[in-house]
Amino acid sequence: MKQHFDAIVVGAGPAGCACGLTLAKAGLSTLVVERGKFAGAKNMWGGVYYGPLFHQLFPNFWEEAPVERYILHHKLSFLTADAALSAEFSSIKFGKKPYNSFSLLRAKFDRWFADKVQQAGAIVAAGLQADDLLWDGSRIVGIKAGGDELPASVVVACDGVNSLLAEKAGLRKRPLPQDMKQGVKEVIQIPRQMLEQRFNLSGDEGVAWEFIGSFTKGIPGGAFLYTNKDSLSIGIVVQLSALVKNKVEANDLLEEFKMHPEVARYLTEGELAEYSAHLIPTSGRAKMPEFFADGFLVAGDAAAFCLVTGLNLEGSNLAIASGMAAAEAVIQAKKKEDFSKKSLSSYLHFLKQSFVLKDLETFKKVPKFLENPRIYNVYPGLACDMAEKIFTNDGQPRKKIWKQLKRSMKGNVSLQQIASDLYNIKRAL
């Protein structure tokens, strides 16, 4: 007879590993299937992990996990074609254990994470794909994978942004391009010493740097640059529907961004090590599917848990927290041996207890606000223009800053529009 698992977790990304680990630690028989050759082989990101959150799962994880750098410096820059206006925040607190956040590379980190899940007692089967769900009437009772039927009391779909399982379970439809951003990224290798000199870093300190500006050609989105140990993760994130509407390719925008003088000087003598792409579900609370059915839960990107705060996008941290919450719901259900939708609905309770649903609720108006094209094609230019006028001294008498501002605004944006946008910032943030 085939082994019957308490839980089958599909996908060994951050959601699946966090879920599998929590289940295994509670003593549930757990199978984690991963379609990649190894956990992490299909994963990419541009992001940072929260130290305190991961510290809950693995005390002092930074001592052994393949993290890259702890983030001490956060930067934000507005770019026009030939100028940059930047703000930087650094805090000594961010350099203290358990560290605020880390840069890391998914393919390396997730592989380590999945090993830990295995050590905790789960079976992690890499190179195995969940092709379909197993049904008993309207109840999901396992998966079909590699030509086999694998029965389980509950299936947790952590199969990522294109979750075909959540669609097969009837919890969601094919997503729309306006609800997705496309991330395109390069890993560029730079000798460690050169990188540290360039970014003025010592030891394992790192930088997380976000950009907004003219390089996206008015398409909602931005760019990022994170320092790894001896490489940079650099990429852009742009709204998919606007890309096709404007007949623009993300790679061309990425190239434009990389050529900006403020960016290019950090990349010289670097060597491309990898080119990757991924979708990000960025419509927030409004477009999230249902998270549970009879014998079935959805977590991470598959549930479109992505927090859009305006300054950054957060998926992986929510994936971990939602994977843990899904596991808690399964553990409760196991105690009652009741895996019905009603029993698994405690997932909502655990999600509300964690920061996942609270943060999504707090920032629920942001995705709509960020559709405003002025954020991308007016304000960065206005900010750079004002800075240029303030700093320029060409021997001519200068005008009052207010007059300069009004001149820069002319034809670009009205006072009423600025007032309305400020009001919306207040509402959204």
Binding site: G36, A41, L176, V244, E249, A250, S276
Partner: protein, 92 residues
């Protein structure tokens, strides 16, 4: 310096290319298509417009799912490569 073209960038990636094609386009629909959204959506340049028809090569596919979502005509029969095949990120 770094390559700029998609095909040169893909050349540094590690792929385990399957014999089996995982994405198929419905040529009768695609060859009539005027929007060509897939051309701009695909970050790997897998779709090419050649004179009066669209060609698709799956080898450089990064499995992002963009083409599936943008095609309003649902002319792209999208699945994932078989387990163990396709893109294999080393960094991610």
């Amino acid at each position: 310096m770094n390559p700029k073209k998609i095909e040169d960038k893909l050349a540094v990636n590690k792929f385990d290319v399957d014999q089996e094609v995982h994405i198929r386009i419905k040529e009768d629909i695609c060859n009539q298509c005027k929007e060509l959204d897939c051309l701009y959506a695909c970050p790997a340049g897998c779709f090419t417009a050649v004179e009066d028809h669209i060609t698709f090569s799956f080898e450089g596919c990064l499995e992002c799912g963009s083409c599936r979502i943008v095609c309003e005509k649902e002319a792209i029969d999208w699945t994932l490569p078989r387990a163990g095949f396709g893109i294999c990120y080393i960094y991610g």
